[in-house]
């Protein structure tokens, strides 16, 4: 579905066409779920966020600005819901997290996301992503999993493209060193599983 087709579907869904709404869900639910699953590390959280995000989006389609991509809007709302969910269910109280708090009110939830993520990443890529900062992790997911271009990630993350690339490179280098330290047994195992 190209952007023109998608815009037509959005307009129909905004007018109350249930089939159009279903089309939007089917077109984006897999990518959003994969993104949320990697971001949260928890399938139940990912499921809740995906559903809540679609409900928000579909009940506010009249607010969608067609100058932007629908997926960018959807992912942004999902991320906000995830951040809010982390704040509600995982209060920040340990001294390490308090020490990491930035104090300017911009991103109070990121340390919480960090603690949320640390407890639940279990597979090899999850463990590698666990080594990264929240920004690095999200950018790597968007770039390598969602295959978003740098400009789109920059828009989504509300940061300059150069900063996005910097996070991407630093995150990937940290992953490389992590695998080097681990002598990549888990990766080797994954390569066997995937037949590489």
């Amino acid at each position: 579905m190209n952007r023109a087709e998608e815009q037509a579907v959005i307009e129909k869904a905004a007018a109350g066409d249930k089939a159009a709404g279903s089309t939007l869900i089917k077109a984006h639910q897999a990518s959003l779920y994969a993104y949320m699953l990697r971001l949260s590390g928890k399938p139940d959280v990912a499921e809740d966020i995906v559903q809540d995000a679609f409900v928000r989006v579909l009940t506010n389609l009249h607010r969608f600005d067609p100058r932007y991509r629908f997926s960018t809007w959807l992912f942004t709302i999902a991320k906000r819901l995830y951040v809010n969910a982390c704040q509600k269910h995982k209060p920040v109280y340990d001294s390490e997290i308090v020490g990491a708090f930035r104090g300017n009110g911009e991103e109070p939830s990121l340390p919480t996301i960090e603690s949320e993520f640390r407890g639940h990443a279990r597979d090899s890529i999850g463990k590698a992503l666990e080594q990264l900062s929240p920004e690095q992790r999200e950018i790597i997911i968007l770039f390598h999993q969602q295959e978003w271009p740098i400009a789109m990630i920059a828009q989504h993350m509300a940061m300059p493209e150069g900063t996005v690339k910097s996070h991407l490179h630093r995150g990937r280098r940290r992953m490389r060193r992590f695998f080097e330290q681990m002598k990549s047994p888990v990766v080797a195992n994954e390569m066997e599983v995937s037949g590489e």
Binding site: G21, V55, R176, E180
Partner: protein, 265 residues
Amino acid sequence: MMRDFVPDDFLPEPDALRDEAESPPTEGERIPDELVDAFFDDEIDEEASRAFMRDLRDDHETARQVVSTNSALESLRRPVSTPDFTGSIMDRVHGKSPWLSGRQFAMLGHWRLAAAACVLVLMTGAFLAQRMAPGAVSFTQRDAPVSQLAETLPVTTSDIARTVNVSLDTAQRMVTDRATSANHDAGTFCFNTFSREYFATVAGSDNPGAECGGDTEATDWKSGCESACGIVRSRRDDHRAATSVFNVVHTSDRATNDVGTIIIK
């Protein structure tokens, strides 16, 4: 986005291709991180990519890292088993329980029931209390007597109020002997007039009880008032405090009436 490659890429390249490539790193020399980044970002062309692969053969540590990282990033793109949320989302969007998941909606239901039960208990309690002691439960504000108001006023205003009370006591004493029940209304009227006239124009009224004239008792009462208010009049400078007292007294009709009643009695 990222080009695919497998460890076979590290097999020796034909000599011709090697000659075309950039000079490989010497033994022990590391491939720059920037080149690895460019490879993963898919920002190098095919020829540079082949050269990069050849260079990796001489940089075993970087090669291991690149293979591991590439494999991990590839695994990110593997399809994830995704439940179909279409039905549940459309149900929520089209009215079954908008904005809330089933679990949240159930919790909201419990909260609603609890809130309704609390309201019912409170209303029943208020009803029973009202039956047992009429007037015990009242949601309307009651007027406070002047004396009580005086106690709760700020110090300066409170002083004025106390002075007024003393003045009124004086006036009360002067009319007590002559007062009858018929003077009640006149006394109340005079008090109201007196208080309004005096406190509203405290700096300018020389005859605050003038309108009370024409009735003997009332005239006597007026004299009492004027005499009593002489004390207050000495505080003319404190117009703001006097006005505050007037406002309190004036807005408390019940208190005013009580004072009038006291005076007559």
